[in-house]
């Protein structure tokens, strides 16, 4: 059986700026009438001893063997090089740019706009926003997320600088710790995330208020404070990113975490690419969530820390929810 080949892209991620430059140049040239008919110079690979036999083997043909190892009958795993290329030339650099870029944007935003302060003084009266169970769940999932992110990033990027910084022996132990933490805490994170999704989904249905909220940029810049219920548009967006991307990360992670089911290399290569890409996206998005929840908004962390928020904060950020609470109090 000859397996299907993946889409072959032999260009590294760093070719992107060059490609976009070429595209701009091409468009400019075609508009100025200088473009010439491109001659298709397909590099025809001269077949070296290209018999059907060798051809089949290099495409992944399997035979019979005494070895009991998984997929031992396949002489050449054609997917491996594709996986290596996608992982090393695309996921690795693109992830670094995504994380670094997000951090840079947040830093610039903080320096330019600064913290979203409370407009009026605190009243001293507080409203309960998060129950003990909600807070315990949030911090459990958050702690697991951070451990998984650090261990995962260490395994993807650590070899470029941590190995030299720590020395081979310490690095070996640290990497083992990262892998064990990742593999054993991962399934716990899956459970925590699923519970969180189920518990909080009812708060996160989008409505018309959220549309206005988004159109006004969530009141991140300027004095305006768009209306919001218990959860604002941004919080709902983060919930759904975490839900959808998170489930993808969890599912692909479980595929790799349980090789005891004998899944093929091809399955695990694909799972690895999906897991890497999706989790890097999620980590970058989490930077935004962490920023807004801590340094970005005055009084936001109190809600998740103590469970209670000041009335001034509630009125400013979640006016509709504040009104509801006040109405039911009466």
């Amino acid at each position: 059986m000859i397996p299907n080949k993946w889409l072959t892209v032999k260009l590294p991620f760093h070719i992107m700026p060059f490609l976009s430059l070429m595209l701009v140049l091409l468009i400019t040239l075609s508009f100025s009438g200088l473009a010439q008919a491109a001659s298709p110079s397909e590099a025809k690979v001269a077949g070296f001893a290209s018999t059907a036999y060798w051809d089949a083997i290099s495409k992944g043909e399997s035979g019979r063997t005494q070895s009991q190892a998984n997929e031992a009958g396949q002489l050449i795993n054609v997917q491996g090089e594709e996986w290596r290329h996608w992982r090393n030339q695309w996921i690795t650099p693109a992830g670094a740019y995504a994380l670094g870029g997000t951090l840079a944007v947040l830093l610039i935003f903080y320096l330019l706009v600064g913290q979203n302060k409370l407009d009026s003084a605190r009243t001293g009266n507080t409203i309960e926003r998060w129950k003990r169970f909600d807070r315990a769940m949030h911090w459990t999932v958050a702690t697991l997320f951070i451990i998984l992110a650090i261990s995962g990033l260490s395994l993807l990027y650590g070899k470029f600088f941590l190995r030299d910084a720590l020395g081979a022996s310490l690095w070996g132990n640290y990497a083992t710790l990262c892998k064990l933490a990742h593999n054993y805490l991962g399934p716990l994170f899956v459970l925590g995330l699923l519970l969180m999704i189920v518990k909080w989904m009812k708060h996160n249905v989008f409505n018309r208020t959220d549309l206005t909220w988004f159109l006004q940029g969530g009141g991140m810049v300027g004095k305006a404070h768009p209306s919001a219920g218990y959860m604002n548009g941004g919080e709902k967006a983060w919930f759904w990113v975490l839900t959808l991307v998170g489930i993808v990360v969890c599912a692909s992670g479980l595929v790799m975490d349980f090789p005891n089911f004998g899944q093929y290399r091809e399955t695990m290569q694909l799972a690895n690419l999906i897991h890497g890409g999706a989790s890097l996206l999620l980590i970058a998005a989490s930077f935004g969530h962490i920023y807004i929840g801590t340094a970005g908004t005055e009084g936001a962390l109190e809600g998740m820390k103590t469970g209670y928020v000041d009335e001034t904060w509630a009125k400013q950020h979640h006016d509709q929810w504040y009104d509801e609470v006040k109405k039911s109090d009466r």
């Binding site: 036999y53 019979r64 002489l75 491996g80 996986w83 395994l155 070996g172 790799m256 975490d257 005891n260």
Partner: protein, 208 residues
Amino acid sequence: MARMKFLCDSKRCIECNGCVTACKNENEVEWGIQRRRVVTINDGDPGETSISVACMHCSDAPCMAVCPTDVFYQTEDGIVLHNKDGCIGCGYCLFACPFGAPQFPSDAAFGERGKMDKCTFCAGGPEEDNSPEEKAKYGSNRIAEGKLPLCAEMCSTKALLAGDASEVSDIFRERVIYRGHNDGAWAQNQAEPQPEADLAYDVTQPKV
């Protein structure tokens, strides 16, 4: 500087699995792991062909490129070795390797694969040459003794060749020329049936 390579002459391999046994015995390989295997294509059919395969000690080794802990290294002779102390058993080398060379003693839940094991070209590991530690982790270090890998040395039909790439290809080229085959020794060309005399290099006959 030598550039070590394996080459398996598919016209000579008779699927005796002698190389597999030699490797397993010489290196005291862990239970459940087979560093070398023989794969037979078209088994039982006309055109049946066997190839012995293990780590091919790639110049641009994919395992080295994807290892998260960077435990692989290449010797001056181009042999790809790894340091088991740093191996975390993630399995990435197995995903990347075209030849299925990296093997793991286990594939238990939570990614408990154990430390990767693969063909060392009988060159041991980073420990002191032929020390008990090296022997226990990686098996024999015949290269340090000036010997070639035992699988190739014991091959009964001399199908499996090991050694400096230029030497190996010289031997193979001689066979190809003697066979007078259009496609070299790789071919099973059904369209052009070859005369019986071309099937193997007969040492008893004088060279042409």
